[in-house]
Symmetry: C2
Subunit: 326 residues, 2 copies
């Protein structure tokens, strides 16, 4: 029944902590959302049930039903086999070879498309926020981990094995801290939420004073990126210094991207940037331009996404829209 | 007079030390060469006269004359404005804004095309050695400095300002040595010929024993990459360790390229690799694959170019051939 009402798109951002589902019009306007916690400890089957529930609830919130949804685009935090929609490896979910597309399609009877979360974020930024205008763009997303999505000549660039953009594992400080990948000095080991929190927790254990312990207790239970912003704005010089350091590392990484890719636009996003853009972006911009070889950064824009937490679900809607037959 | 004899192409590799000109058939077979020293201290005009002389001598060596040359492709060690053939900045020549194309065309009356030397090397490797087969390729060239040429979807990728591939200024060790660019820990400051020679000379000044001083005297006058190979093969553990270290840095840089670009093929070249491939390539390969995120290096080839010193002139012939009307 091809009328306007069957044209809704759903974007799902499946993270290690929460599942966010959004309902979008064909013009990529978000008309409703639903958030559920992920609860990865319950295992993949239960998590996928929760994804389906979040989609159903979001659809219901908008007074729609699933028949009116053309497709679902979902981003997973890890390596994805795009053609068959399998999540190959997602450490934050403790998933290996999970047939996310197949299981969700069986449950919801709607076409499902799966992509790496950072590539999906970049898709949202490139098409919905920048209207596909830059010839080349790299979206860099700082959250629990760090990843990127690359656009070259107006198209996603994924490389030989489909894995291009693993910027979190670019080494920028050989003698730096250990990374989860087994190497040392990766960008992710220096500037991700996990790295920032570890730096703070280690310092607190060694006696560092900070407003964060007043706010959250000595164990810093349930520390979030937003707490860092609050502490800085209340004058916590220690937290400010930690965030400045993370911004400097990010600036070096962005400088490397300018030297290597020379993209027209570099967009920063993810939870860390959403909460700390004001504190970090000026430093990132300055350090990146200092590290870009003379002249190479001319006219290149370094910006933070305005989509915030919605970059992922927006990208999911774009993914579904572009994957479905016209 | 469009017969077979008017179809020769000339490639010129203009370096800080030498000018190499090669004569190529339309099928990219090299039929003759001429080498002159550059003598940059005499100034740009004299250097360009020497380039013209090298071309004339090479043409004469092949019993040809300039009327039989369709075009000349020339690589310069620095930033180039490709459309107008100006060398914007070439520190090893001490050049700024030199109209290389215009001056040479006036002198030789043959169409001239100018490109950055590393991009031209990569052009030679991609088209002449690999027959344009890989979808994506990065050529990394280790000489006095370090640069790269990138191919994506079968075409050179140059980015927004035409400067993509400045891999020499990718920071891989924030706390590393100072680089000529003003930053610290750039790949070029760790693994270029200049960096390797500086490491050796500094150690010798501090009393390090090495066969190199037996070979060349305490001042290491006229030290060349080939001397390092000779010293290693005669059992010099110090030089071996310096080269291993440079190979490890190069492996980390190549690992970063796999994580970021995920190219089908990475080709190494330049004077350092030509002389020390046997010593360095196994280490580069191993370290790169260790730093590539699990699975991302599958099927990716890491190799040294077989074109050796001729990569540049071959690329010059390719550049001329592709820039001329068919």
């Amino acid at each position: 029944m091809p009328n306007g009402k069957t044209n809704y798109l759903v974007g799902v951002d499946l993270g290690g902590t929460k599942i966010l589902a959004g309902i979008f019009t064909p013009g990529l306007e978000c008309v409703g959302q639903m958030k559920l916690s992920t609860k990865p400890e319950r295992g993949p089957e239960k998590v996928i049930e929760r994804v389906a529930r979040a989609v159903r609830e979001a659809v219901d919130e908008c007074d729609l039903n699933l028949d009116q949804v053309r497709g679902i685009g979902i981003g997973a935090p890890g390596a994805v086999n795009v053609p068959d929609g399998t999540v190959l490896f997602a450490p934050n979910l403790d998933w290996k070879n999970i047939q996310l597309k197949k299981i969700l399609e069986k449950d919801l009877d709607v076409p499902v498309f799966v992509e790496n979360d950072c590539k999906m974020n970049a898709l949202g930024v490139y098409h919905a926020e920048l209207a596909g205008k830059p010839r080349s763009m790299i979206g860099v997303f700082l959250g629990t981990g760090i990843g990127a999505g690359i656009f070259i000549d107006g198209r996603p660039y994924v490389g030989f094995n489909g894995t291009a953009g693993e910027i979190g594992h670019m080494v920028i400080d050989i003698d730096g801290p250990e990374c989860g990948c087994g190497n040392t000095g990766c960008f992710e080991a220096l500037a991700s939420r996990r790295a920032i929190f570890r730096t703070i927790q280690t310092a607190v254990k060694k006696g560092q004073q900070t407003l964060l312990t007043e706010m959250l207790g000595q164990e810093l239970t349930d520390l979030r990126s937003g707490d860092l912003r609050k502490a800085i704005r209340r004058g916590d010089r220690f937290v400010e210094r930690v965030i400045e350091q993370a911004a400097e590392y990010t600036g070096i990484a962005v400088g490397n991207l300018i030297n290597l890719f020379n993209p027209e636009v570099i967009v920063l996003g993810g939870g860390i940037i959403e909460q700390l853009e004001h504190e970090m972006l000026p430093i990132i911009d300055k350090v990146a331009r200092k590290h870009a070889l003379s002249g190479t950064a001319n006219g290149i824009e370094i910006m933070a996404t305005r989509l915030g937490d919605n970059a992922g679900i927006t990208g999911g809607a774009v993914l579904a829209s572009r994957s479905l037959p016209a």
